[in-house]
Symmetry: C3
Subunit: 445 residues, 3 copies
């Protein structure tokens, strides 16, 4: 264990200012939440994405208490877009419209953003279904916000980058992720586009896999002519859409058929719980397909997953061997530290990105680990989504990419081994080491 004079001095100073830094900020922002909440503070946008945790009073220079149509008198001119949306919504219909104050409050100096609980006052069953997802653990819509703030890189990276995470993960903390304010249309939320706002691109290319499937293609051809005001019941739509299968009958508990966890973890599809889940799938698909074909389909999916994990383990073994030999560079002592890991500066230990969990894999890793991470988190999940959504061509293509990326890792690993001793002495380091990047973050939060 060696540490420089500079490290000792900086460490000592940090210990002194630490408490000040965490609790000393008197601005309107809040202390972060979650495991690393002590290391970051919310910025104003957080109150927009998670209004319950970071309440954000929309203080306004306009004073007064308003009710019913009164709000609209000004806002029809000030913000005509949202007023028009509300007028077209079901909230504006009937003899008892749901006016602005029901969700935002009446006192114009203390307006607030609504939370799922606000919506749940009138839609208790939907709120209950969403909340019920929590018992299945992550991935889950209801736990999405908790999850994101619990990751080290969220706490550590510039907020301008990771605040973006909140755009999707706020599905847990507000309802207009799917039902765009101020129309709050169920018809809108039934369309695949409502889902693919978030469920697109790696690591969950639900958009490309669905739209490339026979189901999705038919939606693309005819979907604009369907009557989306119909509920998602059996026989109401010619082919299934995202919500048609995953939220059948409008059920907002989306996790009770989910087995494979995005393809990120290897699972046993034959556990008692998973067999129950799969039978739910067989029932859903049975609206159009005979059960024999459905079961063959799932058998093929299991085979595909087996093939994918075989590939992943082959590569993981290569990396673990490199690591055993001290060649998975940079070594622990050379890695950039997360702010809350300051102790590790004096007591470094091998904490290899993806092998110790997903959290730090986006950031705090070397080149080879990142290659493996991409293979696992992006390419592998593309193969899974392709097969699961019936876009088999996509599955085949992503398996091809897995072979290709695996080859590249083998070649690179061999090179690292060949150059091993020399490389150890060379300058290969991650960028933004020694806190440069993290300091930037602290300065700009």
């Amino acid at each position: 264990m060696r540490f420089s004079h500079r490290q000792v001095v900086i460490g000592f100073c940090l210990l002194l200012v630490w408490p000040m830094w965490v609790w000393g900020d008197s601005s309107a922002s809040f202390r972060g939440t979650g495991e690393y909440g002590g290391s970051w503070r919310s910025d104003p946008m957080h109150g927009y994405w998670d209004p319950l945790t970071y309440p954000r009073p929309e203080s306004s220079k306009v004073k007064g208490v308003f009710q019913g149509e009164e709000c609209l008198e000004c806002h029809a001119t000030l913000t005509p877009g949202i007023v028009q949306d509300w007028r077209a919504s079901r909230h504006a219909q009937g003899s008892h419209p749901v006016f602005c104050p029901s969700c935002h409050g009446q006192d114009h100096e203390k307006l607030f953003f609504p939370t799922p609980e606000t919506c749940g006052r009138c839609h208790p069953q939907r709120l209950e279904q969403v909340e019920d997802e929590k018992r299945y653990g992550f991935p889950s819509h209801a736990l999405a916000m908790e999850r994101v703030v619990d990751s080290k890189h969220f706490a550590d990276k510039p907020k301008a980058e990771v605040a973006a995470c909140l755009q999707c993960h706020s599905v847990a903390t507000k309802c207009d992720s799917c039902h765009t304010r101020h129309r709050f249309s169920a018809a809108e939320a039934r369309r695949p586009e409502a889902c693919v706002t978030c469920h697109s691109g790696p690591p969950h290319p639900d958009d490309t896999s669905y739209f490339a499937s026979p189901h999705g293609v038919r939606y693309l051809k005819e979907g604009n002519g369907w009557d989306w005001s119909k509920p998602l019941r059996r026989g109401n739509y010619p082919v299934p859409t995202c919500a048609g299968c995953h939220m059948k009958d409008g059920n907002h508990q989306v996790a009770d058929k989910a087995l494979w966890k995005f393809g990120i973890r290897e699972i046993n599809p034959e556990t008692a719980e998973n067999r129950i889940k799969r039978n739910r799938w067989v029932k859903v698909c049975g609206d159009c397909h005979p059960s024999k074909v459905i079961n063959e389909f799932f058998h093929t999916l299991d085979e595909e997953r087996g093939s994918a994990w075989k590939k992943l383990y082959t590569v993981e073994k290569i990396l673990k061997n490199l690591r055993s030999d001290g060649l998975l560079l940079p070594n622990a002592a050379d890695r950039p530290l997360y702010p809350m890991d300051w102790l590790a500066r004096w007591f470094p230990k091998e904490r290899i990105g993806f092998l110790e969990g997903q959290a730090s894999a986006f950031y705090n890793v070397g080149a080879l680990e990142r290659d493996y991470f991409d293979l696992w988190y992006f390419t592998n999940t593309g193969a899974y989504k392709g097969m699961a959504h019936g876009a088999k061509k996509m599955a085949t293509r992503f398996h091809g990419r897995m072979v290709e990326e695996s080859h590249a890792i083998v070649v690179e690993a061999d090179r690292v081994r060949t150059l091993g001793k020399r490389a150890k002495k060379s300058d290969i380091k991650p960028l933004w080491t020694e806190g440069e990047y993290t300091r930037y973050n602290r300065d700009h939060n």
Copy 2:
């Protein structure tokens, strides 16, 4: 020629069990078809994709012979989706509807899937047009299934991966690739989405190239408002779609204007046959464009192809030089064998992936060959499709990528040469060598 003790023993045993392995399987699956058919067996899904070759009696516990509306009495409840589709189809109209048994048989214990011949009984001209493609050779819709099963990697890879090939290549063996069962709509099949189910992504990005062209952009803007029940005749649609040009007047012979073979092979556009084909194009484009501009367009396409092949040959030469010097690793003896290549274990010879044809190029190659393969099969074809469909920006971009990928190969080839002797002794091997991957396949087929 050296081979280990272990190789001799395994080889001898393989020779003994070989016949058993190929013909000994008494399950319901069939011996494979095509050149390597002896090395694989169909799985149940094959009967779904190619019902003529792998007939798949849909044995059911329900006994009885059913006619006309009788099938619908149960299936309206059991599988309402497909019954609704049929009711909306032309098959259900008129005084003599085409009921389920016409395509699936009457005996519920011996139901079958329809083949193109089944459809051809009522639509003989369309079947004839499809079949007529065969005289132009591959690429061809009518030969698509033959082609896929004739490739080594199809025979060799895990069926869960390559069964996916059948999803598109079954266009040769069933008609609902374009006319989704059980609606079988012509209007649906006229839309570009019907084609891009298969014609999307590398090596034939027909989707991105068409949708990025002025034609495709206008389709995206207005297409949902067009009357798709109109035949694909001159003047019926404001801009051409896939089928509007390639299947004008509904002609199901799609190959009689095809010159460039996806851009994969260099061709001479000035042969007598190709001049006839091109004149057919000039006539199609002439609905809107003056012939002078059309010819200039084709001249630019020829120039583009010339420029692409110049690039490809430059890189191919680099690889061939490496190969002459024994540096295109892994060498023949180190490559994983396809099952039917067991003889090569004792008599290895240089069989370099792409240089000996496309078939094995997805799989049994080293890193540099794969890079070339990607350049040729993916990037080059993107440039071609971009130019051919009038998405010139795409052509320019893919030519830029060709330069970029060529540079990378040059740099890597230089490195291989520099490290040559050492690398030969090192551990760089393809993954899944020594039959591990193929054994996995055998176990899981």
Copy 3:
């Protein structure tokens, strides 16, 4: 300074034939325009993209002078597609239709293509707005054609490749880039697809970023049902589209709110001019959003840009250090020359691609420079567009890629340094060096 015998001889001959080569061509094509115009000649397609600069008389065997309906008598049969489009256009309505000769001339032996000035005779305000963009410099629609012909690689590369540049850059020289001939519909041009014909893919993924944003998603869901004949005024559309924000009220001056120059250059958003521009944005967004949230949004955008430039400068420094040490290969003397750089053959100097400007960066660079170029021009701009259009997920993803690509450059730079001396003596050269590629161009122009 050393140069071979061969260089001297070739150079001397070039000096003699140079004037002949440039001015000696007596074909119908024109001398190129712009800084390097002396080095290339237009091909016939140029007259199609830029009819004012390269006038292209559409000589026809049909003689005669035609007026009004007379043209249609033949063309309704010859080219029915464009006649139908014209009939559906506003030009065909009313008591004084705008017939073909108004834009193409009356003398069938001297027909011409219309220019923006042709359209401006009836639509002077729109032409004026387009022209007004010029005072903001590039990027600008009005300067797009000037810009493209002023780049070295346009002058030098095979015309079949770079003529494609003209497809988008001709937005400056003809009006049907957005208003497809011969319908010239305003409704069509209001839709996002009109813009994404050009504004798609790197370096300006306006398509993916808009369609991934909450605005774009709602357009995808509902847009086909909107009444696009309405002007782009406040409250006429539920969510903004490209033109809804960038061309509000139909203003064809698109540059007067543009601050960030595609994210390619670092700018100071707090200059007096930029504060004026940003206030224009705040006003546009204010149709739906409170100004407080809008300002927070722009603050986040500024933060994102700061974070991106920090990454770019970190990597640029690495390359500059390599360059100082003579390790940014190939060195100046080994680079392929542009035709107009023949002097540099005898007096080579370090002209490193991207560091001396964008123009040559597509082509005349080594592998590491290209990696940096991709990072800057493609990945960085993706991050910018994602954040600017409210597709925050995309911004996060592209920042992740920036980190990844930066890592790769660091590793590669270290390797170049380690192998430094040996590599200098090796064969690593760009392809198409020594004028091979450019000679090909000269032969095929």
